[in-house]
Symmetry: C2
Subunit: 108 residues, 2 copies
């Protein structure tokens, strides 16, 4: 099975914002922003999340919003941030969001 992803021109900013407007999804994207391909399990480990089923929903929201690529690989899923697509369509948006999350961390 392959997952469906929106084409770059099908991405909508309200979909990106609602996808990232959740603390768990925002935290997951911050992990993915370190670059490269991650598998679900490794992201959950970093986040300290054990409820894989809940995360399945979050990955879907991020994928359908155009924020991540998700591809099955054996019994795992590989995840990658769509940074170039997002930066091309919405210049500065992802950086401002990730900087904002860091600001929130710093101010408790």
């Amino acid at each position: 099975m392959r997952y469906r992803h929106p084409e770059p021109e099908q991405i909508r900013v309200d979909g990106v914002l609602s996808a990232l407007g959740h603390p768990v999804r925002l935290a997951a994207v911050r992990v993915l922003d370190e670059g490269g391909v991650h598998n679900c399990g490794s992201v959950l480990n970093v986040l300290g999340i054990t409820a894989k089923s809940t995360m399945t929903h979050h990955w879907r929201v991020l994928r359908e919003g155009g924020v991540i690529f998700q591809e099955p690989s054996g019994r795992e899923n590989l995840l990658r941030l769509r940074r170039s697509d997002l930066d091309a369509r919405y210049p500065g948006l992802l950086d401002a969001i990730l900087s904002g999350a860091a600001t929130d961390d710093a101010t408790g």
Copy 2:
């Protein structure tokens, strides 16, 4: 009755994103971004929305997310975008979001 608003340092980026991650709320904020104080009715007119009760919910989400100030005035509510608070805490975020909405308009 006065509404409660988060202090600038209580604003969280995921709250801002989820508040703006809805097409009606994003459209309302684009109207408010024209500047100054608006009343609910005038924003609804611009958006072509007649269901005032639904909008009450949307104003609350925007207010609690720290995106707008909402103050009662007689039988109306006055609304104002918290642009300076948002720009100070999350530089570039609101501009990137509003530019993104314009990009979406332009690409259908």
